[in-house]
Symmetry: C2
């Protein structure tokens, strides 16, 4: 068995792979790939997927759950277009790469974009605390977890304006209070399912209020909320596999259970990084991500040796992003703690050999 | 075995289902659903998918092949935004439903839309022949095949302006000359693969020439052409399954082979409809689709009886669209002629009982 520490698309539960694989050849007598999206069997899948999201996150009344396409990259635009109000000003917290892309699309959508806070001064290795939100902003946007720099918001930022959040890389990994947000969006391919669908959770009151002169049908969340994500052909298989994964989540303690497992995995690995002289974390304790653990070797001359070691021990996807270097252990919901233990044991062993 | 006449998502070859199913549990030691899109194994899949499209359609030099998300519904917008030039006028041939939606998005993109021809006067049961293209139009758009009304262009319309075509429902079903077009787009879920990815074939000269004030990054085809469809996480599994299906197409006589089989299936069914007094085609001979055969019963009192008959004979998806009524037999590439023979035999049998 491989230990998949990849940053995404990423590991999902083996049971999900098994059941999805079966349905590709037999889903009520057809392949799931050849079932019409209008057939009652798939309508039931979509309905269940939406219901499971609501259950897992305890989504209150007055919110719609939507499955779309295009990833967060299209979500940067869709969120901006749908949240545009009279001010046409938007505040963004810049925690690196993904926030920057989100700001670019908001500008292209016609916003005056205000950087309410930034951690650019230290290569995004922390979460900025002093957030100055222009009170006339249409909304405040933040990226809850940064996959590249290994940072994660522990608490939502203080804000008097509506909150919009890109939760692509940590949704379903910990409990959240959906009522704090006007709009949440997330590419599926971390904790929700395979690549190819994007989740939106939007306050119904926020729909139909855009002041954008440009709001084509597909980019208007109202279109999809009103059609229960069936305005056009949805990405059938990615939605189906996400539904299976959400079922698995609910059957294994829900988001609270996942959060406890994720905290245990993170504690195990960060503890090793902090106590092992050969390694150091890139992020201070307060802002560390439980999803993506970024760390460096203190003795670069031993890099090749360590790389060979984890590769020959069936570890996959540990190489750090080029913007940070070193290593990145992504530990999404489906990564078992046993895989983290394998990595920790290798680090201990490697250090003792030195 | 079921005979799947569904309009899409639709039947694909059994071999594709088998291999895709296997890869969901084991693709070089991981599930295809957990492989990073940046891993060389998936980069090879994307490269092969693009190469197979080029091979199947004999795509000339100077064209880019792109796999995106969002279906034709987003394609209506993307095509308009990317093809906008100084005139901001676009001509559309209106052959029903899909053309109308395409026109709506072009208007939302800021175009003056000109209906160059329409078959609305007869509920879209023919392909208009007298196309008057305003020579100052930025392009002429048409829908090569209409799934709802069962019509199909036999020849491309005459035009002195660039041609843009929504080929969602007949791409890869017959030979085309890509050089005739500036832009072709197509949702995957008929002849290319499962739902969840959308194909664009665009003349490189047409990229980067948009005059639209609004051209966000994801909607700009130049973004994706330059990044080989890897600007952001692609829909990994839909692209993978499309690649398998394109391999299967190439190994079975390519598009020419598919076209011959499709013509034989269409001849078999239309011949029965024309010779059986209980049925009548809704479209005149010259404009009939080889993909979606629409027909009515001449004796409506026997509808329930016929419906029971095909249902108990494992035929799936034969019900006509509500805009036309009656029946619709969709016969995409993967539908075997044996399934058509089953339907024809039932029609004969049913008629002889009358």
């Amino acid at each position: 068995m491989k230990h998949n520490f990849g940053a995404g698309p990423c590991i999902l539960p083996q049971e999900v792979f098994q059941e999805a694989s079966k349905s590709v050849v037999d889903f009520n007598g057809l392949s799931i790939l050849e079932v019409s999206h209008r057939h009652k069997d798939f309508v039931a899948v979509m309905d269940e997927a939406i219901a499971l999201v609501k259950k897992a996150l305890n989504v209150p009344e007055g919110y719609s759950v939507i499955f779309l396409q295009g990833g967060a990259s299209l979500g940067f635009l869709i969120s901006a277009l749908n949240m545009m109000r009279d001010a046409k000003k938007a505040s963004y917290i810049n925690t690196g790469a993904w926030s920057k892309k989100a700001m670019t699309e908001a500008k292209k959508a016609g916003f005056e974009v205000i950087e309410a806070a930034s951690s650019a001064d230290k290569n995004f290795n922390y979460i900025p605390k002093n957030v100055a939100v222009d009170p006339s902003s249409d909304y405040l946007h933040f990226t809850s977890n940064n996959t590249i720099f290994g940072t994660q918001f522990r608490e939502i930022p203080n804000s008097d304006v509506p909150l919009v959040c890109d939760m692509s890389s940590d949704i379903f990994s910990r409990e959240i209070n959906v009522a704090d947000f006007d709009l949440i969006y997330a590419g599926a391919q971390k904790n929700m399912g395979p690549a190819g669908t994007t989740l939106y959770i939007v306050k119904d009151e926020a729909l139909g209020k855009s002041t954008s002169a440009f709001l084509p049908t597909y980019l208007d969340l109202k279109t999809h909320a009103e059609k229960d994500s069936m305005f056009n052909t949805p990405p059938v298989f990615p939605v189906y596999a996400s539904m299976l994964n959400l079922r698995h989540l609910i059957n294994n303690g829900g988001v609270r259970g996942a959060q406890e497992r994720n905290e245990a995995k993170a504690a195990l690995l960060y503890n090793e990084i902090d106590s092992n002289p050969l390694f150091e974390a890139t992020v201070g304790e307060a802002d560390r991500s439980n999803m993506n653990v970024t760390f460096l070797m203190t003795d670069e001359s031993r890099t090749d040796e360590f790389n060979a070691l984890w590769l020959e021990n069936d570890i996959v996807g540990l190489k750090g992003h080029r913007s940070v270097g070193g290593y990145r252990a992504s530990m999404y919901n489906a990564l078992p703690i046993e895989s983290v233990q394998v990595l920790v044991d290798l680090m201990k062993h490697f250090s003792s050999k030195g």
